[in-house]
Symmetry: C2
Subunit: 586 residues, 2 copies
């Protein structure tokens, strides 16, 4: 049974009104991305999501993956779904046509990705990882490496993985121990990697692992790590598959959620050492990884958007269907659907308005990425890139926090049924819960925001964004008082981060997660207000949309943006309390 219908009209509207789709379609190379084409793409993606990916979502969660004799069997239907996915060309959407891609804007593939993640988050992870690996290789790999691997990764005929984590090296990659010893043109890789998403599976004949490892004479720490391509099967000169490389899946993790996706312990070089091929130069692995990780972070943020949308749809359908209690009309004692009850309406509005806010932010940042890559105006491109850099950790962390919160509220709307696995609401909470953890925990995102993105440049880009928000609000024909208050709070806390980071970095960092949340709700609130203003202008054409946006933005202002002063208080006055607490007093 399908639960999820992609909100295609809404997605397209957000692309147009927030993502400036028409402007993006005017960029060189993106000329095909007209609204009509994008609408057609989203409609097709929606069909694949509803007809193919969604029906195996719950069954995949129950069945999980099995490791037997070194082979990982994914749940029923996943392999076939993957085949349909790559045959439809979906894997190659954002890649350069010269490399076999479809050259569509990041904004558009963001929309499609939202659909995959919402229809089936466990499934969506596979192309997410392959895309990241392919991007990494396309930017930093040699022509030789690219000619062997890239085309098949972009088409999805082979999948890709990211091998960063080791038992002792999680958030702290400087502790990586996996070894790489040069042998001719290649390297012999040996070591253990954990938490490798789709590290082994039965979708494709080959898997291309991107592995961080250390050469024997590398400098200590983060600057001594190199990046290698380590294929499951070696590739012959003619492109056919050769023998198995010396690597295997040692075990699969038993996880809280995303159970249909295999999370593997990968063992490299138990015998002669796995053959690996250096990407770029030695000791620059982390640097390369980071180019990829930024887009992966946007993609994980999108998982938050997607699971929130799915949880909302399920909860709304349940609430409209479940009869319980009486209506509020004292003269009419008829039983009503629970959607009529004020607190259920509150929960649905909280779910929907926050989902709209995180989607708006994710799409806006995606469109900035397109501008950064393709704008012919260097100043515009630079500004767009600076917004992408600033907001990538916010998209990742805030959207995934919202994903968990919305999924949790969805469970609550279901009451007792929400706790029963059969209903499906609980799965969304379990699935959503990984997103604030992987691809850099949300705490790490906040350090990135406060340290690298705010303090390092004295808050310049944030101030530019704040000025842009003020300017855009000045043009609106209604005032948005709580948004103004939130922007002021964001400005004050930004200045505080800048001035504290130098002298008392620990204090600044102690406030970073709260500051990130404040950034998210404020910028998201600004984008919601823009959506609302646009819907007002088109009220005659679409009165229901205007009514919905009005409800969303009014709710969001009073229930979410109203938190801004308290968050600012916690940053400005509450961070030193954390910093000064001794470990003994914890």
């Amino acid at each position: 049974m399908s639960i999820y219908r992609a909100p295609v009209d809404e997605m397209l509207l957000v692309m147009q009104e927030i993502g400036n789709l028409d402007q993006i379609a005017g960029l060189p190379g993106y000329e095909d991305a007209t609204s009509d084409l994008v609408a057609a793409i989203l409609a097709e993606a929606s069909k694949l999501g509803t007809d193919v990916l969604d029906p195996i979502n719950a069954s995949g969660d129950v069945e999980g993956c099995v490791l037997e004799n070194g082979v990982v069997r994914t749940p029923k239907g996943f392999k076939e779904a993957y085949q349909q996915f790559i045959e439809g060309g979906w894997n190659s959407m954002p890649f350069d046509p010269e490399l076999g891609g479809q050259g569509l804007p990041w904004l558009v593939s963001t929309g499609a990705s939202e659909i995959w993640h919402a229809a089936n988050m466990s499934f969506g992870l596979c192309p997410l990882l392959t895309g990241g690996a392919a991007e990494l290789l396309s930017i930093h790999g040699s022509e030789a490496l690219k000619s062997v691997y890239l085309k098949n990764m972009i088409s999805g005929v082979w999948t890709g993985t990211m091998n960063l984590t080791e038992p002792q090296a999680g958030s702290d990659l400087s502790r990586i121990r996996t070894k790489a010893i040069k042998e001719g043109d290649a390297y012999r890789i040996s070591g253990q990697k954990i938490f490798i998403t789709y590290g082994e599976h039965d979708f494709t004949d080959n898997i291309v692992h991107m592995v961080l490892a250390r050469t024997p004479d590398a400098p200590e720490g983060i600057k001594g790590i190199s990046l290698f391509v380590v294929p499951k099967h070696l590739v012959n000169e003619d492109g056919t598959l050769g023998e198995r490389n010396d690597l295997r899946c040692g075990s699969l993790e038993h996880k809280l959620g995303i159970n249909a996706s295999p999370t593997a312990v990968m063992l490299y070089g138990e015998n002669e050492g796995a053959l690996g091929y250096l990407v770029g130069e030695e000791n620059h692995g982390i640097e390369y990884m980071f180019t990829m990780m930024n887009n992966a972070r946007l993609a994980v943020g999108l998982e938050g958007v997607a699971i929130a949308e799915r949880a909302y749809q399920r909860a709304r359908a349940f609430a409209a269907d479940r009869t319980q209690g009486r209506g509020t009309d004292r003269d009419n004692k008829e039983a009503v659907a629970i959607i009529q009850h004020p607190d259920v309406k509150r929960m649905l509005l909280s779910m929907r308005s926050q989902t709209e806010a995180v989607r708006a932010l994710a799409y806006w940042v995606s469109s900035r990425l397109d501008l950064a890559h393709r704008s012919t105006d260097p100043a515009e491109a630079k500004k767009a890139q600076s917004f992408v850099d600033l907001l990538t950790p916010v998209v990742k962390a805030w959207s995934t926090d919202v994903g968990v919160e919305v999924a949790d509220t969805g469970v609550q709307i279901h009451g007792g049924m929400g706790f029963i696995e059969e209903t499906g609401a609980a799965q969304h909470l379990r699935d959503a819960r990984i997103a604030p953890i992987y691809e850099g925990t949300n705490g790490i995102q906040a350090l990135d925001l406060a340290g690298r993105k705010i303090a390092r440049e004295g808050g310049e880009t944030m101030h530019t964004l704040i000025a842009e928000m003020h300017a855009s609000m000045a043009e609106m024909d209604s005032s948005h008082a709580r948004l103004s208050t939130a922007i002021d709070a964001l400005e004050r806390t930004t200045d505080w981060i800048v001035s504290n980071f130098e002298e008392t970095p620990v204090t600044a960092l102690a406030g970073s997660v709260t500051y990130l949340r404040l950034s998210g709700i404020t910028v998201g609130g600004w984008l919601m207000v823009r959506l609302f203003e646009a819907s007002k202008r088109n009220r005659d054409e679409n009165p229901l949309l205007a009514e919905r946006r009005q409800a969303s933005v009014s709710f969001y202002a009073r229930h979410i943006l109203s938190q801004a002063p308290g968050l600012a208080d916690a940053v400005l006055d509450g961070s030193s309390v954390i910093a000064e607490t001794r470990i003994e007093a914890l």
Copy 2:
């Protein structure tokens, strides 16, 4: 392996400083409950928790319960643990010695219950339900019924259950359809009940079900429901067990958490009808059930406290052990335990301070219950009962929300390991998630607070409490500005609820959950401040405690109480937005 150590010293201190243990021990019938005895009881309970209940917590979650040929097999070790539990006399703690109980104050058995729930929430549910059923029977049952059932229920030789929910009757009990047809002195019961905790198990030879059902000529709705004792095995005149009654467990639910506790679908009267015995009079079942439900709500609130404490202990131990990243000292690049990182400290402080706050509230309300029952001063007893009535929904809902939030933060502290079931942090989140749902969803608690507890009496008790908070703060030698602000916010929103409930009840109800949260953080904040002030007075004796309390209360003020104005804004100005949103716009 045991994770949890009961914080016995802290629990005793909170009983003394917040629960007025010395005063309680001065009440008639409670003379034995001296601090020394209570300390000894808590120490013994802690031993049982750590040695017996905790070691089967994770294994019980993995193993779950199995229904085979109508028999439910609980996980390995549970039956034996239950035997130890009742042999230790733990089941009978709060009951009247005349009925075979130990006659200890509710405050003291609250402490012991916290230990059971923290050590093993699935296990703790069994005595929780038995206690509720026994209490119900002891208050409303005839002497004949009591003489047959009560002694064995109080000792725990038989367990008890609550049978309220049916597929179409969850929050709305007026929709109950289970039938009761009079036959001689008894009734024949038939119908289906769902979500019956410990509805069937292998701990004991008999199970005493308290079942809500409807007689054929009963009035419609909530006023036509009667309460019956329906034993699994009929009881012979001599007290021995007779034949099986016509009831069975039809299936067990597959749940998100509390997997070691069986949640049964119970089928009554598939053949001749199950024999049931009326409790009290016909058509008063809901009224009787409510006397029990209030204490059950306090008990469920305590589950929130307990799971928060357990999650905190696990996360703190992990954070102290896990080395990752560098310290903040720029001259020292040594790797450090993550507990040193500011954001991990933030998370731990958030977990601990909120756990302290919900515990303080739960213990305070428990002690009011003792005063209400035993005080020789009628005015004192009445005031205490009014506080119990007012705050029962707050203890239930706020504590369980905090339980989920704290368990969720615990997962985050574990990073990737938090998502792996083996680690155990995820189980706490899964277990905690039921508590905001059962025993009346937290939304229902908020309706109870706003409607029955605040509006119906014009906010009188809340105003009395607010006055008491002001008076107590006036006696303190430090000021607590954010607490004052929060109390003001509570006062304004209380008046708003009162004045809106008459004219626009839907608007008042739309703000009820937010109002409940504001009530919880404010009253909890007041109690924390009292704990802090007490620790200051004893600083010379216990400087570390004073330091810990200082850290907790400072954090709580700036990160939790600082939310109060935003919550008030959401209530005062955000409720009408919810109330006025049309269903079509959701």
